[in-house]
Each structure stands twice: as C-alpha cells, then as structure tokens.
C-alpha cells in the first residue's frame, strides 16, 4: 500500500466516524418499520388475514384492491404479510430475550460458584454448541407437539450458550479485576454485584451477541414453519407463508417472494446494525 492510499483511508475514516453510515441508517429504519408493523399489524392491514375473496383468487400484485396480490383462496398477501411479520418478530424477540436471560444467568452462576456448577454449565454449552440446533428442535417438536408458547420457549434455547460463555468470561474477569471485588467488600450481596455493576458493564458485548442470535432465530423459526413444523395454520408467519407459497411457485410466485424478501432484508438489516455496533461498542470482539 502506498502512502497516498494510506492517507486517503485515514482521512475517510476520520470524516465518516461521527455520522451513521447510510447502510446502517437504512437498516435501522427498516427495523423500526418492522417494529411499527408488528405493533399495529391488525390496524394497518387492509383486510383480515384470513378473510377470503373468492372472486379475486391468485390475483397478481399491483392490482388496486390487493397491492401484493392474493393467494389461491383470495386472501390478501399484504395483510397476511403484516400479520406474519408480527408473529415472526414476536417469536424472535421472545426467543432472543429468553436465550439472553437464560444464558447470562447461567454464565453468572458459573462465574460466581465456579467448581462443579461451572463445569456443568461449560459441559452444557459445549453440548449445545456441538449439536445442530435444528435437529434438537425437531426432536422436541416431535415429542411435545406444537404451540406458540412452546415454539417461543424452544427458540429461546437457541444461542443461550453464546451468552453463557461471554457472561461467564466477562464476570470472571470482572471479579478478578478491582470493581467487582471492591463492591463485594463493601458488603454488597451477589445479586447487587452482578445486576447493578457487572451486567451494565458487559451489556454492550451482550447486545452485540444479540444482533448475532436474533437473525439466526428468525431463520430458524422460518425454516421450521416452512417445513410445516413451526407456526401452525390458521396462524401465519413469514416461514409459513413461504412454505405455503411453494405450492403455487409456478402460478403465483409472489405469494412466496414477498415474505422471503422480508426475511432476507430483516436478517440483513440486523446483521448490518450488529456489525456497526460491534465496531462502535466492542472492538475486542472478533
């Protein structure tokens, strides 16, 4: 690399640092849009998501009554898409929250008690990381059948090992460093040390992990629903819609394209935000 290009990149870096990059701004607005849709899906949907319009079956997108077209029962694709976004995001947020809480708690327990508790947690994280989650999820669904709470709970078991490892490692180093030890000798209870001091100090790293787990949960849920083993009709989710649209791939590809595009753009947006946050908040994470 020559001096000129070096100087060039360093100047560019200095200029672009304070502003949010365009890609990140777009990603954030997409996610905000998705959240708004999830919150108000039923209010903004032009039709009920199960409402039939038998005169307009398999209508192509771009028609005045149905912007994104209809499926073979004449159900409005746009309305179904909006409701699907709500369900998929509900599952993804619920699952990510569960996995973050479970993982961080186990990591803290491992760091606090060390010894046998720590070995047990490490063994479980190794196990979770070494088994393909999809297979385990399928096994659980086979044994327990299906329901929305179970699905959220099941997805909540995804990715917890990542939080557990991070929380354990950071809590051990916090305990070894001064501030946690200092708070401990002030007479603070362990819950105060972990929740009021260590947790806020490691929050940025955990948030970055969340941006890695969240898109994978969306993909996992949509994959299961696509296979007909996740969200069950009459409920609908993004993966569900794609799976349904697969039957009409030849005659009505739009049924499948709109939800598929939503999945791809949403995971992409979260990843873009995650990369950006990682650079800003946590340069130590690879």
């Amino acid at each position: 690399m020559t001096d000129a290009t070096l100087k060039d990149t360093s100047i560019r870096r200095r200029i672009s640092l304070p502003a949010i990059p365009v890609s990140v701004a777009l990603a954030i607005s997409w996610i905000v849009g998705m959240l708004l849709i999830a919150a108000f899906a039923e209010k903004i949907a032009p039709y009920g998501f199960t409402q039939l319009d038998l005169r307009n079956r398999l209508a192509a997108p771009g028609n005045a009554a149905h912007w994104l077209g209809t499926d073979e029962l004449g159900r409005d694709i746009l309305s179904r898409l909006l409701v699907s976004i709500r369900i998929s995001l509900l599952i993804a947020f619920g699952a990510t929250a569960i996995s973050a809480i479970v993982g961080t708690t186990l990591g803290f327990l491992a760091a606090h008690f060390r010894g046998a508790v720590e070995q047990l947690v490490l063994m479980l994280t190794d196990f979770q990381a070494s088994m393909p989650f999809l297979i385990m999820a399928l096994a659980v669904l086979a044994f327990f059948g299906n329901s929305l709470p179970l699905l959220i709970g099941l997805m909540g078991l995804f990715g917890w090992e990542r939080y557990a490892r991070i929380a354990r490692g950071l809590a051990i180093s916090a305990n070894a460093q001064g501030y946690a030890a200092a708070i401990r000798q002030l007479g603070a209870t362990p819950s105060r040390i972990y929740l009021r001091h260590i947790l806020p100090n490691i929050a940025s790293t955990l948030i970055v992990s969340t941006t890695l787990v969240f898109p994978e949960v969306i993909l996992m849920e949509s994959g299961l629903s696509f296979l007909g083993l996740g969200v069950q009709p009459p409920m609908t989710s993004l993966g569900n819609m794609v799976g349904y649209g697969r039957e009409y791939l030849t005659r009505a590809p739009w049924i499948m394209l709109a939800p598929a595009a939503t999945i791809v753009v949403t995971t992409l947006a979260v990843s873009v935000i995650g990369d950006w946050l990682r650079d800003r908040l946590d340069p130590t994470l690879q």
Partner: protein, 309 residues
Amino acid sequence: MGRYFAIRIGRAALTIVLVVTFAFIVLRLSGDPALMILGPEAPPEVLAAFRKAWGLDDPIWAQYFDYFGAIAKGELGRSMRDGRPAIELVLERIPATLALTLPAFAFKVALGIPAGIYAALHRGSAIDRAVMMTAVAGFTVPSFVLALLLVLVFAVQLGWLPSGGQDSWRHAILPIATLSLGGAAVLARFTRSAMLEVLGQPYIRTASAKGVPWRKVVTSHALPNAAIPTVTILGFMVGTLIAGAVVVESVFAWPGVGRLLVVAVANRDLAVVQCILLLVAMTMVTSNLIVDFLYGFLDPRLRAKGAHA
C-alpha cells in the same frame, strides 16, 4: 499428546451421553413411553408386557441405565407407521442423503476455500468485494428461499432442470447447488478472515522483509497456519451434513434422512426421530474428533505441549 486425545475422546463420549440423556428426558416428559413406542392401538396386555420388559415400573435411575443399555445394543424401537425397526428405516435413507451432501461438500470446499484465499490476497479488489457480498447473502438468505429461487429460475422459468424427485442425476443438480452455494459463501468468508489474520502476523512480515518471495511466503507460511481454523469449520460442516439436508431434501422431495426426519416429526414417529437424533450426534462427535486429531498434527504448539505431558 496422549492426554490431549484422551480428553477429546472423553468429551466426545460425554456428548453422546448427553444426547441420550436429552432423548431420555424428552421421551419421559412427553408421556407414557409404552404408548409412544407401541402406539395407542396396542392391546393392554402388550403394553403391560412392554412395560415389564423395558422395566418401566422400575425406579427412574434404573430406567435411565436400562435405556442406555438398550441403545448400546442398537434397540432403538420400531417405527409407528410400518412397524419396521427404526434403525433400518434410517440406514436405508443414508445413501440418498450422502448422494447430495458429499458432492455439495466437495463443491463448498472447491469454491469456498480458493475464493477466500484469493479474496484475502487481493484485499479490496473487485473479487474480494464480490466474495464478501456473496458471503453476506449466504448468511442472510435461508436455504429454503435459495432453493425456491433456484427452482423458480431453472425449473419454472427456464425449464432446464426438474424441480423435485430422484429419477436421474439431473434431479440432484438443484439440491446440490442449494447446499453448496450457502456453505461455500460461509466458508469463503471464514477462510478469508483466517488468511487475513495470518497475513497480519509479524512472522509473515518478517519473512517477506527478509526477501523470501511472496509466493513462497504464502504457500509455506500463510496457508498452513490459516489451515488450522479452517479445518475446524470444515469439521463442523461435515457434522452438519445431515442437519443441513433437512430443508433441502424437503423442498426437492428427495428421499433422504432429512426428509424422513421431517415426516417422522410431523407424524410424531418417536422411534425414528430418536434414531436420527443419535445418528446426527454420532456424526457430529466423530467429525469433531477427527478435527481434534488433525488439529493435534497441524498445530505445532499443541504438539510441543503434548510432548511435555
């Protein structure tokens, strides 16, 4: 070195034990195993005999150990649908799955690793950017979407290839393409960052500063070192060959283990599900072990450390 492998083998055994435990817990939580395995239509005396034979009246710990014993003997129960031993059903599907996943694995390696190395060596070039963009796409486009897009283009629009079934080699092209594209992108991205990491090391700069030709620096210093993390992810990919086939086999109606699993889950055919769960665990554990052994030979630090033990 012996200790290193002993620890690895111990961990592999532990993973298997945990999977069996997982299956046992889930099985017990989900209801009466006699009903589960024999089906609700089984006559009461058969159920009673089954309970006695499997020791279901014994304390839970005894049952737990008996369960291990049965699995060790290969007694994995019978399919609820046709009454055949589950293990037979699963084993006869394996060739079909391998017919997709092995070529796909070869393509992933053949595409992903050279692309990653090239991108790393020509950082910032158009090809590097293309590799990175493809890699991001490989992560964000789920395999079922990719599969459907390929079907839409090559089967529906162009009509070049069949969209499903297993009648000729042409039927295998789209499933293999689906499996290899996503994996190749991930592998390329991983190889690229492993290479960049190695190229940033001081010994590489020292070697090139000492006047070693760049080609030689790359082939004899950078590549062997970047191989170590790459082997790890390759091992992981081998372990997930079956899991990865679940979605693709379903889309393309390919009669392999993955599709069998989806059908078994939908029918709650527990014996088959349990059998596939164990098969996946075995594959995963075996491939991890192979990686660990390779690691032991590839990483001189590990070798040196082993020598002291």
